[in-house]
């Protein structure tokens, strides 16, 4: 299938869905509106809301807050995950001692921590960052741990025979291997950083996309809820695109899935 056909079909799906939504929410079928506007709003109103946000400029402040929280959560969570992951992988005893606790904390649905963080850190950005960190940390931690553990025996022996000291093995073998595992989960961890931020905002805040959605919901402004959702997905897609670019630069040495490089 050519690119143009594919793109046309993709756009067509959106057009059909939006058209159906618009029709069913405004034109009665057998004397009944199938998608009552109170619950479903309609695409025109949602679009109008989005335009209003952007033209008045209110949205930028909220986007900025959510972005800041996501970035902070990602950076802090990744740094912690890399450090602890490395430490555990190189010190099997420490890993064995902490293993049940790591599993326990990881098994906990992170949302329940939100009230605690709100209590401890207030309603500002840090309670959201903390929530994001608990999500990002474990993804990065497990991947780095795995990356250090699964360094090829032969590559390691080769490093030793080439005369590498422990420090040089760290720099030239363990570190790149751990990073490659971490980057392979980059999409997931960045996604979770955003999830942490938005969920945190939704549960209690004064700014951000989650706050915007929560406010709209509070006054039964369904158009506002949908508008918030659309802006949020566009926001995540943009970030994901950025991650793909970074990944392409950093992982040039990795074979692509089809093995042809």
């Amino acid at each position: 299938m050519s690119r143009v056909t594919l793109l046309t079909l993709q756009v067509l799906v959106a057009v059909v869905c939006l058209a159906l939504w618009q029709l069913l929410s405004t034109v009665p079928v057998f004397g009944k509106i199938l998608l009552p506007p109170f619950f479903f709003s309609n695409p025109v109103d949602v679009f109008a809301q989005i335009v209003k946000w952007f033209s008045s400029g209110v949205i930028w402040k909220h986007l900025g807050i959510t972005l800041t929280e996501s970035i902070l959560a990602f950076v802090i969570g990744s740094a912690g995950g890399v450090l602890i992951g490395f430490w555990f992988a190189r010190q099997p005893l420490v890993a064995a001692v902490f293993d049940p606790y790591v599993k326990m904390v990881n098994a906990l649905p992170r949302v329940v921590l939100a009230p605690i963080f709100a209590l401890w850190l207030g309603l500002g950005i840090w309670s959201k960052v903390a929530l994001g960190v608990t999500l990002v940390f474990f993804i990065v931690f497990f991947n780095v741990y795995q990356g250090v553990k699964e360094v090829s025996r032969t590559v390691l022996d080769n490093g030793r025979m080439l005369g590498m000291s422990e420090r040089q093995l760290m720099q030239h073998v363990y570190w790149p291997s751990a990073l490659s595992w971490m980057f392979s989960s980059l999409h997931t961890s960045v996604g979770f950083a955003v999830v942490g931020a938005v969920v945190g905002e939704y549960l209690g805040s004064a700014a951000g996309l989650g706050y915007l959605i929560q406010q709209a919901e509070g006054i039964f402004d369904v158009a506002g809820v949908f508008a918030g959702m659309f802006v949020l997905s566009a926001f995540v897609i943009l970030i994901d695109f950025g991650v793909t670019l970074v990944e392409r630069r950093l992982l040039v040495w990795r074979p692509t899935v089809d093995g042809r490089g």
Partner: protein, 272 residues
Amino acid sequence: MTTPTAVALEDAKVAFRLGDGRVYTAVEKAHLTVAQGEFVAIVGPTGCGKSTLLNVAAGLLKPAAGSVRIFNQPLAGLNRDAGYLFQADALFPWKTALDNVAIGLEVRGTPRSEALPRAQKWLTSVGLGAFANRYPHMLSGGQRKRVALAQVLIRDPKILLMDEPFGPLDAQTRQVMGNLLLDLWNADRKAVLFVTHDLEEAIALADRVVIMSAGPSSRIIGDWRVSLPRPRDIFEVRLDKEFHALHREIWSVLKDEVMKGYAQSTQAAEAV
């Protein structure tokens, strides 16, 4: 005047503790010396512990009994005089071919600005001058072996340990690599310990061919001198009469061991 001994395994015994507590003896009592400038090939059936012996010479494994001497010094820890060419891919996948070769020098503190041009020279001498910026996954199996060879040789080790280095390659590529190895070796004649299961390859390359019995508890059961003239060409040498005579002679001994090794491996498979 006798040439100094580069590697000496004196009654080396190698044993592993298995998971269930039993002890598995891979090599019973191996006595083997490699003189300076000598190319020695170890041939044996699958699972006879020839790679194990090589790891002992490299210092990656400690013998359970006996001793290892490198240039008459007892070996403690890793063998710092040796370069090791592995059977499996051992290049750093996150480094380009050039960086993979240069790392051998950088590790010992050579500045990068000096290491890179020398690495480029080595890549050229293994025929990969134009592939400096490729990552290992973009190279063929044979090309990766060439990079690995350059990576080892750039450090100018006094001893070369090679563990079926051309094993994973196809027959033609193996011969081309064999000739490349001989050309490079001819330049400064390092001591080489070359492990292979291919008797023809062993005779074509080496000064001495050592045969090991089928494992476990394998021993060295034969030692032949190969007096074919050097420099040799792998393609040509196989047509030589002397080559054939030697091959027949060694094979008559090796054949029984190969059959034993094969029988043992099938029994083991049935037991599982």
